[in-house]
Assembly symmetry: C2
Homo-oligomer: 148 residues x 2
DNA sequence: TCAATTTATATGCACTTGCATAGAAACCAA
DNA sequence: TTGGTTTCTATGCAAGTGCATATAAATTGA
């Protein structure tokens, strides 16, 4: 094989560490404010943004990059909490639509101030505007060509 | 609160997505080659690098950013597989030393070609040398002042 | 010197995730 | 049409993780 270069190895290690550290800190803030985890927020936000506050599980999965079976059960839990509901997908009985409830919207809106503040504190403030833009551009390259 | 700027939110979202995507792909490569997960590799590599191929659980924890209780049980599993062994820490009976075994070294060495190739394929090749350096520098800012 | 505090590791129990596979509907090709 | 394939979601069971707390040793400070 082709050994990754030192620069690549270093960047990779830091990506893992930085992500772990920042996520752990943000999760801790959410938890201490009595909120559910980031995964729940991710789903709420995506569904909320969907047309009519609806999205199929497949679409959510694609947006948040969860495993199909994990999302299926996460939706079970969220539905049990009244945050979303599953409704039939017109014209295709395999699919379904996940619809955010009023309760779901309310939770997302209550979480955002805490989440947003944590993003600033543990992420944005350490970078600054210009660097955030640079980081976005670099990460985009990784997301590019999601195949292969 | 202070809303994060659009640039910061975008960068944050991409960090999460990019990390998830690349990790998922690399994990898939390791798995399909019959290897254990990245967490196992992380521990093997850290311990191997420690003085005499030894490190305390605390030190491993700090290096890889796992939770204490998760690491404790991961070490149980790795020890059961004969990859590491726990030995007493001289002069402090609270601590212990985790020592990599020959089997552990061998596994790490067999994993690296697969892991390294995957790092290149899903990460390094999409960036290039210069950009890898830029990314490292940006991520370092996030890792800086690990407190707060 | 010894009680209180801190540090290091482990563990019971509940919850979450991963793996393999199921089941059902839609699509496709002859 | 219809049999084979693909797509979408769910699920039993095993493995991993999170939370709270336990245990034991070391350190601190009065």
């Amino acid at each position: 094989m082709q050994e990754p270069s030192a620069a690549v190895i270093k960047a990779w290690g830091r990506l893992i560490r930085a992500e772990r550290m920042v996520v752990a800190r943000i999760e801790a803030e959410l938890k201490s404010a009595g909120f559910p985890s980031l995964h729940w927020y991710d789903v709420l936000l995506e569904v909320k943004r969907g047309p009519g506050g609806r999205l199929t599980p497949r679409e959510i999965e694609e947006a948040v990059l969860f495993e199909q079976y994990n999302l299926s059960r996460l939706l079970d839990r969220m539905e049990a909490e009244g945050l979303v509901r599953r409704i039939p997908f017109p014209g295709d009985k395999r699919r379904q639509l996940v619809e955010i409830t009023e309760e779901g919207r309310a939770l997302q809106e209550r979480m955002w101030p805490v989440y947003g503040a944590a993003i600033n504190r543990f992420f944005g403030d350490k970078l600054g505007e210009k660097e955030a833009g640079q980081l976005s551009a670099l990460l985009l390259r990784l997301l590019q060509s999601e195949n292969t």
